[in-house]
């Protein structure tokens, strides 16, 4: 509907855009503001800190409770993402390019897992992991993370792989490229965006998890940041840990903001790649 852009239409749209932006950002700005407040002013209810301080950040980075959790979060999320993307790429390639019996079943099963209520797995996994010694270890969290992010990886990747013009590989070979060269210089660059996209989505999922993190860990050995934050206590029993929690929440939000800023298009493409062509 190409309607002429009148100034009033422009004003209307900018107002709507601003509403959307405020809606999305206010909770993030609020927790950031809390993280910069001093202990004395944290309960003043002001949206903008009256007195700014970095003490909360200094405080959390001085305790192993937080730094260990941060290392756990980063390590577990990175390993789970790498494995899920590698395994997912293999399966997605098969789904997009090969014909084999059981393909529909595989697609259906991974969809079912995507809808699976995680709480249903908590009690058996808790028992099984305690029995085989995986409870409160990195692999104990990595395994369920891989499982629940595989559907995500498989769907995103197979959607991307379907769009790759695979004939180019053949063309490159005809022009004298070796299979390895054809793969490296033709297929890899074409597939890379899809792989990066699914890696980001999987990382966000693993980074986000809370239920498994509080159920399958019990110590600093494997507790991730979301679980650690929920366990934060104030430095004395009379003190609420508000500032520390806010600072820790901001720290784990930073990677998400960076992803969104640098890979915005990739993420949107991942979210909608298939829907458009339905």
């Amino acid at each position: 509907m190409a309607v002429v852009d009148t100034p009033s239409r422009k004003a209307g749209w900018s107002l709507l855009n601003i509403v959307v932006i405020v809606y999305a950002l206010v909770p993030v700005l609020w927790i950031t503001s809390l993280s910069f407040k001093t202990t004395e002013t944290v309960t003043d209810g002001n949206f903008v800190p009256r007195v700014w301080t970095l003490d909360n950040y200094g405080g959390i980075f001085a305790t192993s409770e937080f730094t260990r959790a941060l290392i756990n979060s980063i390590g577990i999320a990175l390993i789970a993402t790498t494995l899920a993307v590698v395994i997912g790429t293999m399966a997605a390639y098969a789904i997009a390019r090969l014909s084999f019996p059981g393909k529909k079943v595989l697609v259906g099963v991974s969809l079912l897992i995507a809808m699976f209520p995680q709480i249903s797995l908590v009690s058996p996994l808790f028992e099984i992991e305690r029995a085989i010694g995986l409870f409160d270890t990195w692999p104990g969290l990595i395994l369920p993370y891989i499982t629940f992010s595989l559907p995500l990886a498989i769907y995103t990747l197979s959607a991307f792989f379907r769009e790759i013009p695979w004939e180019l590989e053949k063309a490159a070979k005809m022009d004298g490229a070796t299979p390895a060269q054809a793969f490296r210089s033709v297929i890899v660059p074409l597939a890379a965006p899809g792989v990066v996209t699914s890696a980001i989505l999987v990382f966000i999922f693993c980074w986000n998890d809370f239920l498994f993190a509080i159920s399958l860990t019990s110590t600093e050995a494997s507790r991730t940041v979301p679980a650690a934050i929920a366990n934060f206590t104030g430095s004395s029993q009379f003190e609420e840990p508000t500032g520390s929690i806010a600072a820790a929440a901001v720290v784990i939000t930073i990677p998400i903001i960076l992803f969104v800023l640098f890979f915005q298009r990739r993420i949107v493409a991942g979210l909608t790649s298939g829907a458009v062509k339905g």
């Binding site: 393909k103 699976f116 709480i119 559907p151 986000n208 979301p226 998400i256 903001i257 992803f259």
Partner: protein, 319 residues
């Protein structure tokens, strides 16, 4: 959760010409390769879901209290009878259904509005699309703490707008409203791209023609845009409903499930890690599993939402 749209354009589409004619050898080699490529994914998914869910069924038939491990005993469906005749289960179930229905309904309306804004806005489209991804990506627990402090008397900028002496998070209905608010804020950005993708399928020409024929904006929305978006809407609804039904993180942080705000997931968690009752906890887990399966079944049968693995754009999602 998280979300992805994939085009099951046709899961069973014949493979690209390559192997079609050289039947036996080529096809067999292709199957072998496919089996090898899919094996790791299948093994992990089965080992971490199918086997434990079977084990959960077994646990749910036992009297198994971690504080008294020696009194482990087979009790048949006793745990289920205990849960289903208990008012805690039914109130948690009711709370979960209420949160699910209300938040998904609001998300649909808001997501549609957001999709229309992102689709039609004449400038700043990139900025808007970038910014709305932040709620989608942010760690639920971090966002939940932001909401919690916002509504805590004295500390919060929102609580201070309320009359003196009210603590919304300590009363059932206000607390549930805040849970819904936190859920809606977080997951509408998941809804919007899915709906936006459906919106892109509506041809502009059709809308223009309708406009020429005298259809107003509202008529164009309800008579043309929404019917054409139906498949996209159903897929988004199905995924968000199942996702909302397992609501846990927000409630855990906001109220811990106190004052009648606990969802079924919270009830299951509390039985496992508060009461250390693996038998009852597992029975609750299985009942949640059955509820989710029923919801998915109803969606697919009643509304004709795209069945898993079928041709229509199959969405995949999570917060």
């Amino acid at each position: 959760m998280t979300a992805t749209e994939a085009p099951q354009r046709s899961a069973d589409r014949p493979a690209p010409d390559t192997g079609a004619r050289r039947r036996s050898e080529g096809a067999r080699a292709e199957r072998r390769l496919a089996a090898m490529l899919c094996a790791p994914a299948v093994i992990v998914m089965v080992a971490v879901t199918a086997y434990p869910i079977g084990y959960a069924v077994w646990l749910s038939l036992l009297r198994y209290d971690l504080r008294f491990p020696d009194e482990k005993q087979f009790v048949g469906l006793g745990n289920y009878a205990a849960v289903l005749t208990d008012q805690y289960w039914w109130s948690a179930f009711l709370v979960t259904m209420a949160i699910t229905v209300i938040s998904v309904a609001i998300e649909l309306a808001l997501g549609l509005a957001l999709a229309l804004i992102m689709h039609r806005t004449i400038f700043g489209r990139g900025t808007v699309r970038t910014v709305v991804l932040i709620p989608y990506g942010i760690v639920t627990v971090a966002a939940a703490f932001s909401w919690q402090y916002a509504w805590t008397p004295d500390t919060g900028y929102l609580a201070n707008l309320l009359p003196e002496g009210t603590a919304p998070l300590t009363e059932q209905l206000p607390a549930l409203a805040i849970v819904v608010l936190a859920e809606v804020w977080k997951t509408t950005p998941f809804m919007a791209p899915l709906l936006l993708a459906g919106l892109a399928l509506v041809p502009d020409d059709l809308l223009k023609a309708a406009q020429v024929d005298g259809a107003g904006p509202w008529q164009r929305l309800t008579r043309i845009i929404l019917p054409m978006m139906k498949p996209a809407i159903l897929v988004a609804l199905l995924f968000r409903t199942l996702d909302a039904f397992r609501v846990f993180d927000n409630i855990y942080v906001l109220t811990r499930g106190n004052n009648g705000t606990g969802s079924v997931s919270i009830l299951g968690y509390n039985n496992l890690f508060g009461a250390f009752n693996l038998g009852i906890g597992s029975a609750i887990s299985i009942l949640i599993f059955i509820s989710v399966a029923l919801i998915a079944f109803l969606f697919i049968k009643l509304f004709g939402a795209a069945a898993p693995g079928s041709d229509v754009g199959a969405a995949e999602g999570r917060r």
